[in-house]
């Protein structure tokens, strides 16, 4: 069986003990979305304030296990200040990280005709600290704990854009 140390990496525990961006934002101007994990009762509330298509401010609340709380904390630190297009890219990269399927080959040559912006979107986004959550995949029941905040953020962004 995989080691618990793969799941509970130090950086994850740090985000769990000292969550970044926990709190609330006034709605409006911010929007608020709630996510539930019906299996275990984890609840997450995401607040985002969009400035055009830039995530100006993000906060989260709710309750959950170390993985769900750390994931929300890391996600919020990473996406703050990014554009929604960059977020979509990060979201895709995160879902790949969380998928049990092998990752697609990394050395896909970029066609020279691509313009720069598009090329940027198509290179896998750098997840940084979030990569520490990779070990979660070895504990399949916990994957939903890690992905809950990402689903909820997507919802919040959709809400803000409609």
């Amino acid at each position: 069986m995989p080691d618990l140390e793969d799941l509970y990496r130090e950086i994850i525990l740090d985000h769990y003990r000292n969550p970044r961006n926990r709190g609330e934002l006034e709605c409006p101007p911010a929007v608020r979305a709630e996510g539930f994990n019906p299996l275990c009762g984890d609840e997450i509330i995401i607040y985002v304030d969009l400035d055009g298509d830039v995530i100006n401010e993000i906060k989260f609340g709710g309750q959950g296990c170390s993985i769900s709380q750390a994931s929300a904390s890391m996600m919020s630190s990473t996406v703050k200040g990014r554009t929604t297009a960059e977020l979509a890219n990060l979201d895709r990269a995160f879902k790949t990280l969380m998928s049990i399927e092998p990752e697609p080959a990394e050395s896909e040559p970029n066609a020279p005709s691509h313009n720069e912006a598009q090329a940027k979107l198509e290179t896998p986004a750098k997840l940084g600290d979030i990569e520490a959550l990779k070990g979660v995949v070895k504990f399949p029941v916990r994957i939903k704990c890690a992905t809950l905040c990402w689903h909820t953020l997507t919802q919040a962004i959709q809400q803000a854009q409609t």
Binding site: M1, L4, L7, Y8, L13, Y16, L39, C40, G41, D42, E43, Q63, G64, C65, S66, I67, Q69, F139, R142, C145
Partner: protein, 409 residues
């Protein structure tokens, strides 16, 4: 006579399993119990020697199969002190049994605004069917609160029952372990002119159950928590009531006659058992009831009582204020369910760490979200005991809890 746990454990093949290279310590019997050899054998024997559809068959196997089903009904009836075998209706599980009452008796007898009273410690199985009726028929759901010890707070019972049509209560809480005063509640319900439904899912496996003593009108429970197979549950109700209420699902087995114009229903209990029943599962439940009766339900209860006392003492001695055990602190007032908070560590993380030590506990809301809200938490860790558990299982739990400190403290 005390239970001989060593010989009981030998009856449960799964208890030999190892998980993650460690002996398995199973502390999740409130979710489902393991099955003893006689139950597994009864199901196998049914399929190997008897298997055929019930009722209407004239050949030997079909006769034996029908007999096996009805024999199981008789065993269950005896086990719960039913007035007659026909008062035992087989359902899929306790959830279906409660839904049966809501859909048949409820739809026929409840009008918009009629109060139905439940409690804050109910399992979703005894909440959602009433929420559904509230949405569809406009019934009015009232809640008996719990006090800080996890007992029902009956201070305003009379007011809550005023005008009520039904009181529906779990005999034993699957989260707090609280043993509720069912007979007293039934009396209060009847005095107020309401019927009484008891969700006995956590009662029949662990305590002697006598539906006459409970005095209730409906009693629902589930087979898989009492050493029986999954897929079989029971609704017991008084004969007059079963005769008076409309059928549940329609189809084969539940009819007397069908014409182009309509149908007439079979007698109770078959009127409520549409389609091919879970025959092997019923046979397995019959064997489970025999097994429990052989041990003696009083002995099962006293075994769990001493184990709960041992658990409460051990955990408090080891961890003092670092552990909070929800529900009644007095062992005599509770079943073998221990929901706890350890050092504020999230239950999923606790359960994950315990799993590495081979200790199986459940983390989550235990299908009692309204209760979680009352307790002020989203989830609890829950260790639950049964007749095959012993003190070394408790010791293993206590030892493994300390492992969580390395990560979370």
């Amino acid at each position: 006579m005390a239970l001989n746990t060593a010989s009981i454990r030998a009856d449960f093949p799964i208890l030999c399993r190892r998980v993650h290279g460690k002996p398995m310590v199973y502390l999740d019997s409130a979710a489902t119990s393991h099955k003893p050899r006689p139950v597994i054998d009864a199901v196998t024997h049914y399929y190997e020697q008897i298997n055929s559809n019930v009722h209407r068959g004239s050949y030997q196997l079909a006769v034996e199969s029908t007999d096996a089903l009805e024999e199981a009904r008789k065993k269950v009836a005896n086990f719960i002190g039913a007035g007659s075998d026909a008062e035992v209706v087989f359902a899929k599980n306790a959830t279906e049994a409660i839904n049966l009452v809501a859909r048949t008796w409820g739809c026929a007898n409840l009008s918009p605004g009629d109060p139905v009273v439940i409690t804050e410690l109910e399992h979703h199985a005894n909440i959602v069917p009433w929420h559904m009726l509230a949405q569809e028929n406009g019934i009015n759901l009232r809640w008996i609160p719990i006090d800080t010890n996890g007992h029902l707070d009956l201070t305003n019972l009379d007011r809550l029952l005023d005008g009520a049509k039904l009181l529906s209560v779990a005999a034993v809480s699957n989260v707090l372990g609280t043993i509720n005063p069912v007979a007293q509640l039934t009396e209060a319900a009847h005095d107020a002119g309401a019927l009484m439904l008891v969700d006995a899912s956590q009662h029949t496996p662990h305590l002697p159950t006598d539906v006459q003593e409970m005095g209730a009108d409906f009693v629902a429970f589930t087979g898989h928590k009492m050493c029986g197979p999954t897929g079989i549950g029971v609704l017991w109700a008084k004969m007059e009531l079963l005769e008076a209420i409309p059928p549940f699902l329609g189809g084969g087995e539940m009819i007397l006659n069908v014409t182009k114009e309509g149908f007439s229903t079979a007698d109770v209990p078959w009127k409520f058992e549409a389609g091919t029943p879970p025959i092997a599962e019923a046979v397995g439940l019959g064997a489970a009831v025999d097994y429990l009766t052989g041990l003696g339900m009083k002995q099962v209860r006293s075994h769990e009582l001493s184990l709960v006392s041992y658990a409460l003492n051990t955990l408090k001695e080891r961890y003092g204020n670092h552990i909070t055990i929800h529900g009644p602190q007095e062992p005599a007032e509770r079943g073998g369910v221990l929901s706890f908070d350890y050092k504020g560590i999230h239950p999923h993380d606790v359960a994950q760490v315990l799993d590495r030590a081979g200790v199986c506990v459940r983390a989550g809301h235990h299908c009692a979200k309204p209760l979680m809200r009352v307790l002020g938490c989203g989830a609890t860790s829950r260790a639950s005991l049964y007749l095959y558990n012993n003190e070394s299982d408790i010791d293993a739990l206590a030892d493994a809890l300390a492992d969580a400190d390395a990560f979370f403290v």
